[in-house]
Amino acid sequence: MKAAFAAKIKRSRYETVYEVVGKPPHASGFSARGFVLTELDDASLKRLIRRVIAAPAKPPEYLIEMAEASVAHALDMFERFGLESYSADAELTVDDVYDASMSLGVSLYVEDDGDCGDDGAPPCRLVAAAEASCYGLDERHEAMRRADVGNAERGIADKAAVRHVALAALKHAYNACPPRYM
């Protein structure tokens, strides 16, 4: 694995748990974790983790549509009403036979460090965070992305940056699942 990420793996009799974080933690705004209940040898597990990080496969159109709709609404709510925070989570069934689902949560919020926005202090920042998961009968994978996307005082987020956060999280999680389910 390239130097930017560290993966932790824990095996027990019933499950294999993995966790991937940027080095130092959250430096990249990306982390992922998951578990599989079926036996997975070292090579397969490594392949899975690499897929989650690199995310080579594109999710199907209806999942992208879900992400785009959530992002568009979040941006609209911030611009029209100047909210303090907004979040939306959607879950869709992707495979009835294996009972597999994908979910995506998109949040946009003002990050208040306690001082920001005060006289002489820097303005509060707008942060976008997305968490996507893919889960089936015997496995679950989650991927998180987060990025600073604007200045809260202006109340305007960088649309491309918010969209990137949501679609990237979706793609990481989707790549943990195929080709087993989709």
Binding site: Y62, E65, M66, A69, S70, H73, D76, M77, R80, F81, G82, L83, E84, S85, Y86, S87, A88, D89, A90, E91, L92, T93, S101, S103, G105, Y109
Partner: protein
């Protein structure tokens, strides 16, 4: 600590805690749409004032300000759109807005397909809306929770969300939690 039975088929209880009153009011044996309604919170007020405030939350007498109403309507529009266009099995949406320098209002709704069982002998599929509204002020906190069936289907038939019922529940709940602010006991 005693439960006080109110007229509107709600029971309330109060507890004193270091200058604050903690309270909880729960709907009992109520028909739809009040099934699963409760409100809880705390504030540094006398019990008599607190009772008035709780009654105002339950009966929701004031109008919602335009901004709050528009936020809730936009949440509803997006929620029903996602449900109809994407056929999501679960959707949750929430927003936090500032009412003034010391007060926030949080509103969240989760729409879930209750699919525990859909066989012939079991209950039909149901769409359940869980609504949560929180008013957080400088020295007080109120949380409303509502659990409502907003659509059902019979075995073999898809359950449909009753959009108008959902819209009314969302606006009604927003009005109820806004009343915690409009009738806040510090009187500001």
């Amino acid at each position: 600590m005693n439960w006080h039975i109110m007229k509107a088929r709600f029971v309330m209880r109060f507890e004193r805690d270091a200058g604050y009153i903690n309270y909880e009011a729960v709907g009992r044996d109520l028909p739809l749409p009040y099934i699963g309604f409760s409100v809880e919170g705390w504030a540094p007020c006398p019990i008599s004032l607190m009772k008035k405030q709780i009654k105002s939350i339950i009966s929701a007498p004031v109008k919602l300000p335009r901004r709050v109403r528009d936020v809730v309507k936009s949440l509803y529009g997006h929620l029903i759109g996602m449900h109809r266009e994407l056929r999501s099995t679960s959707y949750s949406i929430g927003a936090l807005l500032e009412l003034d320098d010391e007060s926030d209002l949080m509103f969240r709704i989760t729409l879930t397909l209750d699919d525990v069982c859909n066989d012939d002998e079991c209950q039909p599929l149901r769409w359940i809306a869980r609504i949560e509204g929180v008013y957080r002020g400088y020295m007080e906190y109120h949380r409303l929770k509502k659990y409502v069936e907003v659509g059902n289907g019979y075995s073999g038939e898809p359950a449909e969300v009753k959009a108008e019922l959902l819209r009314r529940m969302m606006l009604g709940s927003a009005k109820q939690i806004y009343n915690a602010y409009a009738h806040r006991c510090d009187g500001k």
